[in-house]
């Protein structure tokens, strides 16, 4: 959970595009199916002496494999669900879940942002509107990368909007 400062408001919560979750899930599906295909080929085409499907051994092995792959699928989903970028009126927060035991939360204050760019690479990304947003900080070569986010143009616009507001506030307070 994000603890907001006084007067701070959440503008957008952005996640990776669903297509990236879909491609990762398809990868898990292929990994899941691979032993079954190899088994079928070994028994049917190559004539290897293995039990046919339907025996208690094959049920046991396949249900064990299914259970492990089911957990793996949800671990991929957990990465997707817990990876999030939050743009508030004061800062940009990047929450990066790396596996189950590694979590990184980085924060960038709006005042420190110098430039925001976005890039959309490829046909699928163009059609489905997702890409990377690069947030450049002032003074240093440090960069904040928001990868595979849905509608990167909107994210960029929102961040720039907050930079403009902050700049105006600072000028008025001088």
């Amino acid at each position: 959970m994000l603890h907001l400062q006084e007067g701070e408001q959440i503008d957008i919560k952005a996640r990776k595009h669903w297509f990236l979750l879909f491609t990762d899930s398809v990868g898990i599906l292929f990994l899941y199916l691979a032993p079954f295909i190899v088994w079928k080929l070994a028994v049917g085409q190559l004539g290897v002496n293995l039990p046919h499907t339907g025996t208690s051994l094959t049920f046991f092995l396949s249900s064990t494999w299914t259970l492990l792959m089911w957990a793996k699928l949800f671990s991929v989903w957990t990465d997707y669900y817990l990876d999030i970028w939050i743009v508030t009126s004061n800062r940009v927060v990047n929450i990066d879940q790396k596996g189950l035991f590694n979590r990184e939360v980085s924060t960038l204050r709006i005042e420190r942002i110098q430039d925001v760019t976005f890039e959309v690479n490829g046909i699928v990304a163009t059609v489905l509107e997702f890409g990377d947003v690069h947030v450049q900080t002032a003074g240093e070569s440090e960069e904040f990368l928001i990868k595979g986010v849905a509608n990167p143009e909107r994210v960029k616009r929102k961040i720039l909007g907050h930079i403009d507001t902050k700049t105006k506030e600072n000028r008025l307070s001088m």
Partner: protein, 84 residues
């Protein structure tokens, strides 16, 4: 330890499995179930501790638990039938 020839003819086709015997298979089975249970507890903990939407976390927990339960039951039944 019960030897592989008491486990049925299917095991002769898997040299690795047949070398385990009944006790070894029990350890494999319990190992898989325990790893899965601990992993699941960590997953669900993360959904509720760090998730931004409680409803999504609840829905994910229900789907995950129900399907896992069905797979676990299938696994237990086939394991019992394997040993019988």
């Amino acid at each position: 330890m019960t030897q592989a020839n008491e486990l049925g003819s299917e095991f002769f086709l898997f040299p690795i499995l047949s070398s385990f015997g009944t006790d070894g298979l029990w350890y494999v089975f319990l190992g898989v179930v325990l790893v899965f249970l601990f992993y699941s507890i960590f997953l669900i903990y993360h959904w509720f501790r760090y998730g931004m939407n409680i409803l999504t976390s609840i829905l994910a927990t229900i789907i995950y638990s129900v399907v896992s339960g069905v797979i676990l039951v299938t696994m237990i039944i086939s394991f019992a039938s394997l040993l019988s």
